[in-house]
Amino acid sequence: MEKKPEAIKVILATDCGSTTSKARFFKKIKNEYRFVASGEAPTTVEAPFEDVTMGVRNAVREVEELTGHKILAPNGIIVPARSEKEGVDLYVTTSSAGGGLQMMVGGVVKTMTAESAERAALGAGAIVMDIMAVDDGRRPHEKIGRIRHLRPDMILVAGGTDGGTISHVAEIAELIDAARPKPRLGTEFKLPIVYAGNIKARECIQDILDKTFALKMVDNIRPVLELENTEPARQVIHELFMEHVMSHAPGYDKLMKWTPIPIMPTPAAEGKMFRTIAETYNANVIGVGLGGATTNVYSIYEGKFVRTVSANLGMSYSICNVLKETETKNIIRWLPFSMEEEDLHDRLYNKMIRPTTIPQTVQDLVVEHAVAREALRLGFAHHKLLARPLRGVQRARTIADIFEQKTFEETYIDMLKVDWLSGTGGLLSHAPRRAQSALMLIDGFQPEGVTKIAQDSVFMMPHLGVLSTVHPKAAIEIFEKDCLVRVGTCIAPRGTAKEGEELMHVAAKMPDNSTISEHVKFGSIKKIPLKEGEKAELEITPFHGADIGRGIGKKRKAIVEGGVVGIILDARGRPIALPNAEDERKRKLIEWFKALNAYPEKLYETWGG
């Protein structure tokens, strides 16, 4: 029997990631839901194990060992709880194992309906393998070959405004039908296709696709050019993910019997929690999930939610793809010590082939942190390509647009207006000092103005995301108390100056009414300690044409929150300029690490600082 929400005392949530399955154990303690323990084990969805529940059991067993609470039954999870020390009242799970939800999208015009379809699929937590459009420059047989080769889990077809031409979207449907892609999982089931195009073309699409595929019709994603309506497509993608995709992945038939609550794609659950931050604090939020296989970036900016996934930018099994996408020198530039290129390559390739290993030496840790900065930077660059205004819409350019030489190709995200920057994922959550993840986030995203930095304490945002669908109260309580770590606030002017020139002055009125005055020179970082939960009043004055969010050279007053690191005064300029000379660059990095006490002090000496 299912319990009422208020009667739920013990909760288990798991996430089957691409590399690791993670169990999180929550309990109601004195009327409040809290995080208690976690367990992790390698995911077992693919050969030779081919049963996702084995990895889940192993992760849960670790929780059992650490807490002494019995959770596992011979064939699943003990639900509901039988005593104080046995069973749980609620079990929920997310999954991105086996490559997550892999989709292909199609539309008529690449930059219009196809782009809207891409945003809808990404928003639903999918990895978009390819984007097909009538005008994408490929010949029909090339497109057919591509669809056959990729074997997506699901296809989303959009195209045309309501009442517009039918033939173009029919052409895409005909190509899909000709390709007859075989699903990745199981040869038995019909490949799901979601049609979210011109409603007038529905009959025609049905004729072409209904025989071979599991076809589902939803409202047009672009009913008129000026409107993008991705929500209906997104919802159906979630339903089909459970019905068609998950039920065919190895072991998921069992896992689905362990819980009556639908399994959510990990990124969808993660995105839900970033949206919670935006809604709770009425703020513009940028979030990132830096995983082993992918980097997911989320923006909730002036009410618009966009998620992107960089499918092969990750910190374990796709770590070499980060190396491939950026350049060796771009990773080495973040190292405060000398390292031969070959040595770096060997380390990263060896991590790729043994992805579950963790750094045991600080040197190894710093190397991974350097790669992470690049993965974040590339992931965000990718995100900005999709977080841009709808195209195909007539717009009048204002005088201001002309002055700023703005084009509508550019992202609408203005870093000066971003209030929160928040991160999750194994590497960020497990960074031994929070200052390390703060620096990685700041270096990767380069926030400007006044930005709160937060992070997931032990990687539980996906768990809380799926929990919030059935028990929002528990999810929010745990999120506030145990998940969201306030790292601090970053104060960073946009602009540059000459080395040694003062870029900003910060006058701070601290909680004890004392005042602090900091003159921050270009190229440096300073820290004002301010604890979590405390607030300080700042007056920030930018110099040399820099902007702190109120216009060039204009003062800004702000009440800022503290955190485990404090207030970070970042006057390194935007974009952050690293010195070209090697010794100078290393000296600078050590200076920045020291300013935030990011790594063990004794090491700076050995690194040459």
Binding site: T19, S167, N312, K324
Partner: protein, 386 residues
Amino acid sequence: MGRMNNTMSSQAYTPGLKRKSATIVQQTRRLPISGDVLVKKGDDVEAETIVARTFIPGNVHVVNVVGLLAIDPWETSRYMLKKEGERVGENEPIAMIKSFFGLSKRYAYSPVEGFVERISDVTGQVLVRENPSPLEIDAYVPGRVVEILPNEGAVVETPAAFIQGIFGVGGEREGQLMTVAAYDELLTAEKIKQECKAKILVGGALVTGDAIKKATEIGVKGIVSGGINDEDLTNFLGYKIGVAITGHEDVPFTIIITEGFGKMNMSKKTFTLLNEFDDRQASINGATQIRAGVIRPEIIIPRPELKSEELVKYKEKKEFLEQGLVPGTTIRIIREPFFGALGTISKLPVPLRRIETESDVRVLEAELEDGRRVIVPRANVEIIEE
């Protein structure tokens, strides 16, 4: 292979490389799409015996009939000379329109031999599909068919020595093993002679770029070595590897590395085992997939001389070892600062322990071969199965 029991404990599963001098290897030989199985249960097969065959649907070509005949899309069917499903030859007319009272004719031709798959009166396009092409899969290892997968393939079983590498490129190949370098030497071009042709070369802590070039010239079937430099791998493949999913590369031979990237002595036990079977016929596959659940490259040396009672003994041992990390388990450390060191587990403390990076992690205590006692994260060891 690979069906593991379901009752492993949480500390049990650390992916380890298998190195067995005798075991029963089962190879599932499966078609990508359904087809005909050509063998029966109980059949004895050679490595090259074809076990299943199917036909892969041909490529599709789009003929823009509406444009070629200058008609409206809805008229397409009316001007077709061929119906859906009908066979067509290369350059054969498939649609025609007459104008000026039949004086002028316009045609649309099929670009390939095949059949008409679809005539669309919506888009005015006609799809012509090429004839299907045959696809066969062989047994890969000599042995006995123990299971038939109806319409899909068969499971072939053989007693064999079985060794996994850590990473490989290139697909299935068969050939004679030939040791050309010691476990701690460099496998250089000088070590590859004319008599290496069609052989699977074994040895070395590192296979050099020159050796790979020489091996290509001579025409070897495979190289099994301790390590490789990423640059040499990139040159061999013609592109950089970003994600470790391999096995389908178009390369002249298969490379399997047993330890990792850079110069790394081949584990003595792996080397001794391979050396023991010098001159024997082996089946190798470089296919590697590192993600949730790992596929490692493999070297299978069939041993038909082994008796079944001997194998029962090995089978029992196998189950014992799959219990995982327990005190006494032989392990190898797979990350700095003890990368490559072998040892045995002495303790498995339950509480988290703080390591140099200041992370609190689950650790184990191991006694290394050289007598040192070290603490390492449990995540940084692999089990050596023997």
